[in-house]
């Protein structure tokens, strides 16, 4: 693995989509498409074989759906991050994908620039969803039973007061710079807090941190 190059696996049942994304991403100097998978089962095998940094995952695939493949891949290994790509921005897809452990969500018709940027952001672990998606995510959570899940709530207790505060702001979709501004601290301090939160809670990235914040009941969807 060349340091600095993001290794990408593309899982989609349509050849045209796989080839298209491969061309678009290989143009980027810091991104390399290392493999393709034709369905969910294939994706799991390819991830085990190639250990990519990022998996571009279509949801609707034969044999095994992208959601299920995402779940198995993220359970299996902490390393690869999954960026879900679909034709429809259905709320249920977004929600299911994030619950399954995806780090980001993008429409297939995104521009080449958006696609490359999303891959970089997800790979860096800084990923958070686009503001529009975050809002819908919150709306989705607000539809659910708001009773927090007890084990999750207990784990919030491991965090310091400051870290809990930062986690709540992550869940609202703020960037590190915005959180720093809000708490009147240096951005580097926020980064340190975020890193500790992820380690303490055993979370993959900021997206999963936000999902955790909602599921544990730390943040209640309101005002959106």
């Amino acid at each position: 693995m060349t340091s600095g190059t993001i290794r990408v696996l593309i899982a989609d049942d349509q050849m045209m989509v796989r080839q298209g994304f491969t061309v678009l991403l290989n143009v980027q100097p810091d991104i390399e498409v290392v493999g393709q998978a034709v369905d969910g089962r294939d994706a799991i095998a390819r991830v085990a074989e190639l250990a990519p940094d990022v998996v571009l995952m279509d949801i609707r695939m034969p044999e095994l759906s992208g959601i299920e493949a995402t779940r198995r891949i993220t359970e299996e290994s902490p390393h690869p991050r999954v960026l879900v790509l679909t034709t429809f921005d259905l709320d249920e897809y977004v929600y299911d994908a994030l619950r399954a452990g995806a780090s980001g969500f993008l429409l297939k018709d995104a521009s080449a620039e958006q696609l490359a940027e999303a891959v970089r952001v997800v790979a860096a672990g800084d990923a958070l969803l686009a503001p529009g998606i975050t809002r819908r995510l919150i709306a989705e959570f607000s539809r659910l039973d708001s009773t927090p899940r007890a084990p999750l709530k207990a784990r919030v207790g491991d965090l310091t007061e400051r870290e809990t505060e930062v986690l709540a702001l992550i869940a609202q979709g703020l960037s590190n710079a915005e959180i720093a501004e809000r708490l009147v601290v240096a951005e580097q301090t926020v980064k340190t807090h975020v890193g500790r939160i992820l380690v303490k809670l055993g979370l993959r990235d900021r997206t999963q941190a936000a999902v955790f914040a909602y599921e544990s009941g730390l943040v209640r969807p309101s005002g959106y």
Binding site: Q14, V17, L24, M61, F88, D109, S111
Partner: protein, 482 residues
Amino acid sequence: MGVDEARHTEPAEPGGGAPRPEGGSNKGWALRGLGLLRVLRDDLWTFVAAPLPPLSRPRRFRWAPHVLYCMIALILMGAVPGELDDDYGLTGGFGMAFGLAQGGAVVLALWRPLPAWWLSLAAMFVTTQTAPRTPLVLPGQFPAPRPPHPTPMPPWPWTAPGIITCALVLFLLALRARTRVCAEVLALTALVTVLSAPAPVRYERTAPAALVIFTIVLLVGSALRGRREARTQLVELSTVTAEERARRTLLEERSRIARELHDVVAHHMSVISIQAQVAPHLVENPPDELRENLDGIRKNALEALTELRRVLGVLRSENPGDPYGIGSGTGAAPDSPQPTLDRLDALVENTRAAGLEVLTEITGEVRPLPSGVELSAYRIIQEALSNALRHAPGSTVRVELGYFPRGLQARVVNSRPTRPAAPSPGAGHGLLGMRERATMLGGTLVTSKTASGGFAVACFLPSPAELPPHDEPTGPTGEKNR
């Protein structure tokens, strides 16, 4: 007065005049009551048939009421002459005539309850007028006391057979006639009874008992009629609901098909939008014109996608039970692509796993067909197989695909089921959807029972084989991409 009386004594004959059982001696009164009388005449002086229908169940005894009435009529015919002879000293011809009248009224009531009622009422009236002494005692002379009668304590004015006859007739009348008519009939019966009631002291007064019985009989009959009418309305209502449901099912089926097809188109569009971005990277230094052109293609594809998502949103929101609607109707967002005939093997395998023996046969040169045709063919076969699973357990199913130059023929034929199928609700919707899919593509779909006790679904979906590549892309085959 005499004329009025005559009308009463022969009610079965169409007289045309207003029935005035009270004897209407006062012309002024008659004029004042003209409106009321006209209503009474319209209601009561009709001979419209209102036959008693046979019972709907139990089937074996559907004619039982009619038989019962006829038997009672025979008994009455036998009993009346004797009674009249004993109690009233009416002998011979009178007795026979009244017996026939009473029995006849009971039988007549089965078809024409109103005239039957007139007949039974007239029989009573004439009996009372004839009994004590002939000739007639005119009502105008009431309430003059009557001379003594030789027989002690006979019933007056209603004889027992008279009450039975009239009660039976009134019961049938109440089953058929409106409540207002029943009320008028009761009032008129009461009036005639009261007018005939003043009797010699030695008679046993039956008027109150008779009127109570008549009232009860009319009430019970009316209640039964009301219940039956309510039930009829309910049946009509549920027929309407069933039609409504069928129409809604059709619409739901159509929008499901529409959703699936839009879904397919949306996927094509997103591929186009990706390819338009990819194309410039495939050539060295692409000219600006090419870039602009491809940008235009991408922009249009994105706009089309936006519209398609909007259409799918509309189609979805009309069907809250299936919010995403682009799957198999499970209500969840679909996580597999819309199927094509490539997936036929998996479908057949699933059906085998569910317990049917499935044979497949593919004839002709297999070629990729437009997504819409493949999707429809897949869905039709899927529905037919699921019908076979539901309705023909243990049968053997043949799935035949025939590729013809002009299109695709699909046949799903199952043999006779080896065990009875469990009843399943919602049967028939599948056939509806299949037909819709075939019709939409300009194809045909035929379903029929087979001679061996099985069921066959056959469809033809037109899809002309692709013309040689130098031709202009034509119609639906132009968008082929698989």
